[in-house]
């Protein structure tokens, strides 16, 4: 072990020397002189970072994910996860200005798949893949301690209320739609809506448009009573993490040994992510038969909903394609040719200055719209498919004897472990009393 220390020290020194040199590298162009009253626009993305430091970010992410998984699954330490999430908030949030981010990386990946001219950086790809891999094995430990967006909300959970299940499930469908739309818009090169409407990046950068700051503050205030609202109602990456987490073999467990069904864990979870034991009545033959009929009906509905969704998506392709600036601009210039003279219209003037012809713009817009025809089918079909599977899951009851975290919804924050009295105090000291519903 001692022999390894010089090697590690050497590596650290080498890294610092390498990154130090890169940090001293000059910009290609010196910054223009803007000291005479010109107001510089706020940057929408942070300054480019050297490759070595990008890989350092990946290394930090990997370390945080590993530590978070260990803390959640083996160490069972809520306090450790909390401190780790604070570190991530400071590092990935305030220090790295919320960029690079696994949530936004969805768009980079989508664009790189569908646009051969776009090359995704390895760091962005790893930021997308690593949390998913960890979710597949250990649950959503990324949400627990690595995501700065989750961390900032988690710290402000004050008096969470429990929302009725049907409302939660309905709201839980929004991230699916958001995911589908963000992939479609990114794949067609139209927009990066996840970044555009990232509510916390303005807070991380202490700067941003009014809307961004407004959304950030609103989410934080809302999060005092409805824990992690962005994660539960908007986060598109959470959809992917949730799906993979369902298959996780080493997911966090509430109790280290036998559950005593004290219900403390359920009351402690601000996210309504703990499922109670399945009662005997669901196993009764008549209920099972009824559920089987519904199950068959819902399974039959899946292809219908998929096709119907695809058809609706296809029919919406003209409307959806207008998100792409070229399509919108082409339509605008066809319907309002007089706008070409409008010097105040920045987009039209920028196009006219670009040297491209109007015919080129229209041709480009047609190509994009064709992409939306296919994209509309896929988006609609995807939403229909998820809707069908969600319906089907309503009648699938798995055998559950104890209180267990819902692997898809659980953020692995560890509150339930903290509250679980098993193996913490002698059994005889536990008073079994009923806890009122959470306000």
């Amino acid at each position: 072990m001692l022999k390894k220390i010089p090697n590690i020290t050497t590596l650290i020194i080498l890294f610092l020397l390498l990154t130090g040199n890169l940090l001293q590298a000059q910009q290609r162009f010196p910054k223009p002189e803007f000291e005479t009253g010109y107001v510089q626009p706020s940057p929408t993305t942070p300054e480019p970072r050297s490759i070595a430091l990008e890989y350092f970010d990946v290394f930090v992410l990997l370390a945080v994910l590993s530590l978070a998984s260990w803390l959640a699954v083996r160490k069972r330490s809520r306090r450790g996860l909390l401190w780790l999430s604070i570190f991530s908030l400071i590092y990935f949030g305030f220090y790295r200005d919320g960029c690079i981010c696994s949530i936004g990386a969805i768009q980079n990946v989508a664009l790189s798949i569908f646009d051969p001219a776009y090359a995704i950086s390895l760091a962005a790809l790893l930021f997308f893949i690593l949390p998913l891999l960890f979710a597949l094995f250990f649950g959503r430990t990324f949400c627990a301690a690595a995501c700065p967006l989750g961390a900032i909300q988690d710290l402000l959970v004050i008096n969470p209320i429990s929302i009725p299940s049907w409302i939660r499930k309905t709201l839980g469908f929004i991230p699916v739609i958001y995911l589908g739309l963000s992939v479609l818009f990114a794949a067609t090169g139209s927009d990066f809506i996840i970044c555009r409407y990232d509510p916390f990046v303005g807070i991380f950068r202490m700067d941003g448009p009014f809307l961004m700051i407004f959304l950030g503050i609103t989410f934080l205030l809302l999060g005092m009573f409805f824990a992690r609202p962005y994660c539960r109602v908007f986060c598109p990456y959470g959809v992917l993490l949730g799906w993979l987490s369902r298959f996780s073999k080493w997911h966090l467990s509430i109790t280290p040994s036998e559950c005593i069904k004290c219900k403390l864990c359920k009351d402690s979870c601000p996210f309504d992510a703990i499922e109670p034991p399945v009662s005997q009545e669901y196993r009764a033959p008549e209920v099972a038969r009824k559920n089987l009929k519904r199950f068959i009906l819902y399974v039959g509905l899946i292809p219908v909903l998929t096709l119907l969704g695809g058809w609706i998506g296809y029919k919406s392709h003209i409307y959806l394609s207008r998100v792409h600036p070229d399509v919108y601009l082409a339509e605008l210039m066809i319907t309002n040719p007089e706008l070409k003279q409008d010097q105040e219209n920045l987009d039209i003037q920028a196009f006219l200055e670009s040297g491209d012809t109007f015919e080129q713009l229209v041709e480009e817009a047609s190509l994009i719209r064709n992409k939306y025809k296919t994209g509309g089918w896929v988006l609609g079909g995807f939403i229909g498919l998820v809707l069908g599977i969600t319906l089907m899951n309503q009648v699938v009851f798995r055998r559950r004897e104890d209180y267990e975290p819902h692997k898809g919804d659980c953020f692995s924050c560890g509150r339930c472990m903290d509250y679980c009295p098993v193996d913490k105090v002698p059994q005889r000291k536990i008073k079994f009393k009923s806890y009122g519903p959470r306000e």
């Binding site: 000059q26 290609r28 162009f29 010196p30 223009p32 002189e33 000291e35 005479t36 010109y38 107001v39 510089q40 626009p41 209320i161 429990s162 929302i163 009725p164 409302i167 709201l171 929004i174 809506i193 409407y197 809307l211 407004f214 959304l215 609103t218 989410f219 205030l221 809302l222 009573f225 409805f226 609202p229 109602v233 600036p325 919108y328 601009l329 605008l332 309002n336 706008l339 105040e344 219209n345 920045l346 987009d347 039209i348 519903p437 959470r438 306000e439």
Partner: protein, 322 residues
């Protein structure tokens, strides 16, 4: 607050958030956007103190069919190249010669016996009767020759495409090149964002090269060592602004520089140390967002500006005491 009420509040806030996002998404479109809050307003810098203006435009003459690309003053004559022509004009505007040359010249330099005309990636040598004496070696596909300068038997070629100065002897043999790089901060290397890269040799034989990205004039030895420089980056009249200024320069007998800028077009005079002496032509004499006029100057300090936007030669004479 009751749980039910809180739930309703939560749902209402969520609905507001979704509504705000949708509203923003649907309204931030090209025909619904507000004015650009970051527009670069340069109007205030177009106004120049009258006391600073040392010259006045006394004459100008159109070049007719010729789309000119370069002007040079030598021995009481103006040499202008453009399209596939070389035009020689006396100072009073009388034509003294018209010669056919290789097409698409970009620049020229003239000495007593020969003319050297720059093209995109090569230099051609002519005599004063317009006879082609030689076409020098090609500087490569990336080359964009923007200007030439001459000192005794050496011709300096500004290659904006490769961001370097190439030195030939007067027979076209390449004898050196440099990129303006040095260990010190001063020798950053030429930053040439566009095809605006000029150089001159003054009456003391010093080679001065514009580093347009740095808004600097740099003095080099023939082996590429930087010997001195000055830079002025500013919106104000005493500096240069934009990506690539000064775009064109000329040099007076006393070593002062005539500078010509694009964008906010203006022609000014600086001393050798970079101190603004006067303004030859303020921006309001030129097209808005125009090209930088090519400039040259005679022994009396008369500045000849080839205005590419108006396609004419404009003559600015010193105002004098009166």
């Amino acid at each position: 607050m009751k749980k039910r009420s809180l739930t309703i509040v939560v749902l209402v806030i969520l609905a507001v958030i979704i509504g705000v996002i949708l509203f923003d998404f649907l309204t931030k479109r090209p025909d619904r956007r507000g004015t650009n809050p970051y527009a670069l307003e340069v109007d205030q810098y177009k106004v120049v103190d009258e006391a600073l203006i040392s010259h006045k435009e006394t004459r100008n003459f159109s070049l007719g069919l010729l789309t000119a690309s370069g002007i040079y003053y030598h021995n009481d004559s103006l040499f202008i190249v453009g399209e596939s022509s070389l035009v020689v004009i006396t100072k009073d505007g009388t034509s003294a010669g018209l010669f056919e040359i290789l097409p698409h010249p970009t620049s020229l330099v003239v000495e007593d016996l020969y003319l050297y005309i720059g093209y995109k990636n090569f230099v051609a040598k002519y005599d004063h009767m317009g006879l082609l004496l030689g076409r020098w070696s090609d500087l490569g596909e990336r080359a964009v020759i923007t200007n030439l300068a001459i000192k005794e038997d050496r011709v300096y070629v500004a290659d904006a495409g490769n961001r370097k100065v190439v030195i030939f002897d007067n027979e076209g043999v390449k004898i050196g090149e440099f990129e303006g790089k040095a260990e010190s901060e001063a020798g950053h290397g030429f930053i040439v964002p566009s095809a605006n890269f000029d150089l001159v040799v003054n009456s003391y034989g010093e080679l001065w090269v514009v580093n347009p990205g740095k808004h600097a004039l740099e003095n080099y030895s023939d082996d590429g060592r930087i010997r001195g420089f000055w830079e002025r980056a500013s919106f104000e009249i005493d500096g240069f602004l934009g990506c690539c200024n000064p775009s064109r320069i000329a040099v007076m007998e006393d070593g002062s520089f005539i500078t010509s800028e694009k964008g906010l077009v203006r022609i000014k005079i600086y001393d050798q140390s970079g101190k603004l002496i006067s303004v030859v032509a303020p921006p309001d004499l030129f097209k808005e967002e125009g090209k930088a006029p090519d400039v040259c100057v005679d022994e009396q300090g008369v500045v000849y500006a080839l205005d590419f936007d108006k396609d004419m030669v404009r003559i600015f004479e010193p105002k004098g005491d009166g």
